[in-house]
Structures are given as C-alpha cells and as structure tokens.
C-alpha cells in the first residue's frame, strides 16, 4: 500500500520531538481537552490539505480553497436556514457547489490555459464575492443571531465519547473524538485508495511526473486536471460543512487565509512541488504537526502575530528542506 506509507520519517520524528517539548513546557498541553482541541481544530484542515496536495501533485496549486470553504458553508447555511431543506440535502447541495467551484478552476486552467495560481487567485476573489452576495445573514436581518438546528449538520460538529462506547468510563479517561476526525480518516483512506489502486491515481502520478509524457501516452489530460481541481474543491467543501456544524452558523470571512495553512501542511507532508510525488499521510501529518506547533505556542501565551510569522517561516523551511533532499538525491 504505497500510498499509506510514511513519506518521510523526519516529519514523524519532528512531530514527536515538538510534542514532547510542549508536553514539558506548556502547562495544559498534555490534557484531554487539549488533545480534543488539536483534533477538532486541525481535522478539517487536514482534509483541505489532502485536496491541496492533489493539485500540487498535478503541478498546480489552488489558492481559492479558503473562499471555497466559505462558499460551501454559506450554501449550506442558506439551504437549511432560508429554504429549510432537510440536512442531508443541504449538505449534498453544499458539496456539489464546492465541487463545481473546484471544477471551474480546472476548466479555466485547461481551456483558457491560465497558470493555476493566477486562475485560482482570481477565483479566490470571485468566490468570496459570491459568498457575500448570497449571504443569508445579510439578506435576512433575523438570521445572524439564529443557530443552525438541523440534527444532521449539528452532528458534523459533534464528538464521539470513546469511553462510554467501549464501556471503559470507569477505568480510564480518553479524549472525546470529534466526528470531523472520523470523516478525515474515511476521506483519507478513500483518497489513498484512489491514488494507489486506481487508473486515475496512476494517471495523476504520470501526469505530475511528466505532463509531456502523459500527453504523449494518450492520457486524457484535460479531464484529469479538471477532476483533480474538482476533488480539491470537494475537500474544501467538506471542511466548510464541518465548520458550519461546529460553529452552527456561517460567516462571510470564513476560511480566509486558509490556503496558506493548507499549502504549508501539504508541503511539510512531503508533497513535491515538482509534481508527481505525494500521498495522503503526508498532508494529514503536516496539518497536525502545524496544529501541535500553533496550539502549543498559544498555550505558552505567545502572540498570534508570532504564530503568523512562524507559519510563513515553516513553509519556507519546508520547501528548503524539500529542495535539499532533491539535491542530495541528484548527486
């Protein structure tokens, strides 16, 4: 199972070391509540990072994921609050909207031959504009103060009590696992299988390794690229609906800046910017490594502004490291 194997041991080692450091230095780091915090706060980010790593594997990038998160969230909010659709349908519509947004990115890249980052930088603005335009919170004055009550949607933001389910409540105390973490696990396995066991996955790796070769080998390159961006949009949509479940509302500014963290997670996780190489464990580990660092720093009461500086620094360091390995291999 090549696509579940660990991309590099370094990141696991690094995560363990940093985790241990925080466990000793930050007071409330090694508590159940904090573990729950990390799982809740970064499961959805790991989902976005998986989608992002697919576009990077295809030698592209998707800067619009933050806006797509907000788009899915707002569509879900409107569907359940204004049109009062049952939760399942509302969730489906939101996911379709996000997938369509992703597919549109792919169409722009393929048919208008735009550079991925320019196309998605433009749709970043355009999708955010749509979010403002369809915002139920602005169209109906009574909605901003109302919470989403649909049980399906609320369930997405819920927790699973492991102890009680196992009947171990009297013996040990385990953290409550957020539903979003289970969604992440299922999604990661699904994408892992898609990458490792299907023709589509093989084609994607071929294309990422050498677009020329893929084209000459007669692959339907256009369709492949569009599907990759559609899947990236779907990932962002999945994250968006999870966030609505958690916050019980959708804000217009939701997800802004998230593209940076998602790309960072994917790159830390060993997704090569030269294309072709990547998997699902990398971005997931990358997202949680980032989560451990940022939450640990918050517990140490280090200013949020330093964290912003650090996130950028980590991103640059990660690709620097990536380049170093590449060079060593070439020698």
């Amino acid at each position: 199972m090549a696509f579940f194997k660990i991309p590099n041991l370094v990141i696991i080692l690094l995560t363990t070391v940093i985790f241990t450091i925080f466990a000793f230095t930050a007071d409330r780091f090694l508590t159940l509540a904090n573990i729950e915090n990390i799982l809740t706060g970064y499961s959805f980010l790991a989902i976005i990072a998986i989608g992002q790593s697919l576009t990077i594997m295809a030698r592209g990038i998707d800067l619009s994921v933050g806006s797509t998160v907000a788009l899915a969230a707002m569509v879900l909010f409107d569907a359940t609050m204004i049109f009062e659709l049952p939760g399942v349908f509302a969730i489906l519509i939101a996911l379709v909207a996000a997938t369509a947004a992703g597919a549109l990115n792919g169409l722009l890249i393929v048919y208008l031959r735009l550079q991925p980052f320019v196309a998605t930088l433009a749709t970043l603005a355009a999708y955010r504009g749509i979010v403002y335009a369809i915002s139920g919170r602005q169209l109906y004055p009574e909605l901003p103060t109302k919470a989403v009550t649909d049980p399906w949607i609320r369930w997405l933001g819920d927790f699973f009590d492991v102890e009680r389910a196992l009947g171990l409540g009297d013996f040990i105390s385990l953290p409550w696992i957020p539903i979003s973490f289970f969604i992440l696990l299922i999604y990661a396995i699904a994408i892992g299988l898609l990458l490792g066991r299907t023709r589509w996955g093989l084609n994607l790796r071929t294309y990422g390794g050498s677009p020329e070769a893929a084209h000459l080998a007669g692959l339907k390159v256009n369709r492949l690229v569009i599907s990759v961006y559609a899947l990236c949009g779907f990932s962002a949509g999945l994250a968006g609906i999870i966030l609505v479940g958690r916050f019980t509302t959708a804000t217009e500014a939701l997800g802004s800046g998230m593209e940076l963290t998602a790309i960072t997670a994917a790159v830390i996780g060993g997704t090569r910017l030269q294309g072709g190489i990547g998997g699902v464990t990398g971005p997931v580990l990358g997202a949680f490594l980032l989560g451990i660092i940022l939450i640990g720093l918050t517990l140490l009461e280090i200013s949020q502004f330093y964290q912003q500086i650090l996130t950028g620094g980590i991103l640059i360091a990660a690709i620097g490291y990536d380049r170093l390995i590449e060079k060593r291999k070439a020698v």
Binding site: L112, V118, A122, G129, A133, L260, F305, Q308
Partner: protein, 313 residues
C-alpha cells in the same frame, strides 16, 4: 533606443477607450477630467507596485508579499516620524523596510533556488505578522506633518502628487526596461535562463535585484497610502492587493513564464483595471458583486491574452 512596436500597445488602449466610453454612456459624469484624475489617483499605488512587479515577472518570478510590505513601510515611516525624525528620514526608513523584504525574498529565491510563489506566500504571512507585531491591529493617526501628508494628499500643477510619483516611477521603469542593458539582461534571462547563465551573466544577482526593486516599489506605495489617509495600519494592503498588481502586469501582456515584457503595457494594464474598478463603483454595483465581477473580468481578460499568445506561438 529599441522601441519595438508591440501588439498590446495598440490593442489595450483601444479596449480602455471603449470601456471608458461604455461607462460614460451610462454615467456621463465619468467622462470628465476630474473623474479621470480620480481614477488615476486610486490606481497610483497599484500602478507603482505593478511597475516593480513587471521586472519580477520578466524573470518568471512572482511576488505575493507586496500587500503586507505596503503596510509595513507605512508603519515604519509612521514610527520614524513619531520618534521626532524629519520627513525625509521617515521616507527613507519606510523604503529601507521594503528593500529589506525584497532582499530577503531575493536571496531565498535567487541563491536558494526555491519557487518564488511559495517563498513569497510564506513571506506574505511573515511580513504581515511582523507589521502586526510592530503596530498592533489598531490604526495610527499621522497628524501634524504637513510635508508628509503632502505626498499623498498634495497637488502640483493641478495633479495630485501621488500621480506624479506614479508617472515618475513608470517613466524610470520604462527607461530601465527599454534602454538600459540591465533591462535587456532581465528579459533575456527570462527567455532562457540557461543561455543567460552560460553567457556569463550574473543571473543570481539579476533575479535578486528584481525582488529588491519590487519591494522598494511596494514600500513607496505604502508611504503614499499612509499619507493619503493620514493613517498607518498593519492591516493595509489587504489580501487581494497582489491580485490587482499581478493582474495589471499580465493584462499588459507579460508572460508568467518570463521573458520580454513592456513596462508601458503594464501602465495600460493598470489603467484598464482602474477603469473597471471606478466604473463598477460609479455604476453603483454593490461592493459584494464588484469582487465577483472583477474576478470574472480578470479571468476573461487573462484568458484572451493567454489564448492569443498561445495561438501565435
């Protein structure tokens, strides 16, 4: 003087005139000198950054960190002023901060050979964090410095000073790109980095220098911005600023894969964007939809440029 005729130098102005007339048809007030000055004034800072960005893009690079750099330089100038320094020192300090950001970008990209888009995306976060660390999330009012306010709010010969600065920087940019050997070296570097390297050009130094120019331009824009609204804030140059700047350059026909580009066309790209921005405003399109429209228009325009370029080659 190598003044080649390029296709865009005719096509783009025609599009701009057509757009202006279209907006003017619905709102005649748009076709006045005052309105033209207002359009230019709004675009001066974007235009200054676009001139710098043109050089970066000619080397097949990109700089996503111009927005926070703008905020940083405004803040640095503000704090220099507050500490009692004279205005020229404040301006130099602001510019130095932008040059420093550009130099960091340049070193990592040119010497470390890392992809510009990821490096400058990281720097976007780093510089914003630094600006917030220095200035906090609050607004800092700049008052009692007439000569500083003059940069953004004053007028010379009937034109706002900020427009003069834009025209001046555009003129320098056009001169450097069209006439000097530096401009020629940059464009050959973008066309074929290998050949450029083999022919003994100092490619690293050239790439490095373009980011320094770009950072410096962003800093100048930041100084104008802060003096225009008498305020410095770490949140100026919000996300989307770099989109405007990059769009202006690409609308001018520059290829993101590097190679020859014309600063004069970038100036037209800036005008095109300015007319879209102001036109949407004057036609009372709601702010939310403006974002949507602009994204769409930019995609269409870029699509046309990219398709026409591809069909040519």
């Amino acid at each position: 003087m190598r003044l080649e005729i390029n296709k865009n130098i005719i096509a783009l102005p025609l599009v701009i005139i057509a757009l202006t007339l279209l907006v003017g048809y619905f709102e005649p007030a748009f076709l006045t000198v005052d309105s033209a000055i207002a359009v230019l004034r709004r675009m001066a800072t974007i235009g200054i950054m676009a001139v710098g960005m043109t050089f970066v893009i000619m080397t097949a690079g990109i700089d996503l960190s111009v927005g926070p750099t703008l905020a940083l330089s405004g803040l640095v100038s503000y704090f220099t002023l507050v500490s009692g320094m004279p205005v020229p020192v404040a301006i130099l300090a602001g510019m130095a901060s932008g040059i420093a950001v550009g130099a960091i970008n340049g070193i990592i990209i040119a010497v470390g050979k890392l992809p510009a888009i990821i490096v400058t995306l990281g720097m976007l976060s780093i510089v914003r964090g630094t600006a917030l660390l220095i200035g906090g999330p609050t607004l800092h009012q700049i008052s009692g410095h007439e000569s500083y306010s003059f940069i953004g709010s004053g007028a010379l010969l009937g034109l706002p000073v900020s427009i003069w600065i834009f025209l001046f920087i555009a003129a320098i940019g056009i001169f450097i790109q069209q006439v000097t050997s530096y401009g020629f070296q940059i464009s050959t570097l973008g066309d074929n980095p290998e050949a450029s390297h083999l022919s003994g050009r100092r490619t690293r130094l050239l790439i490095f220098s373009t980011y320094v120019i770009c950072g410096c331009c962003a800093a100048i824009a930041g100084i104008i911005d802060s003096s225009q609204v008498y305020t410095a804030s770490a949140n100026f140059g919000e996300f989307g600023t770099e989109l405007d700047v990059i769009s202006a350059v690409i609308l001018g026909g520059a290829s993101l894969f590097g190679g020859k580009a014309y600063v004069i066309n970038t100036v037209f790209g800036v005008l095109f964007l300015g007319i879209i921005n102001s036109g949407l405003n004057i036609l009372d399109v709601p702010i939310e939809s403006q974002l949507m429209f602009k994204g769409t228009l930019i995609v269409i325009a870029l699509g046309f440029t990219s398709l026409s370029r591809n069909s040519k080659s």
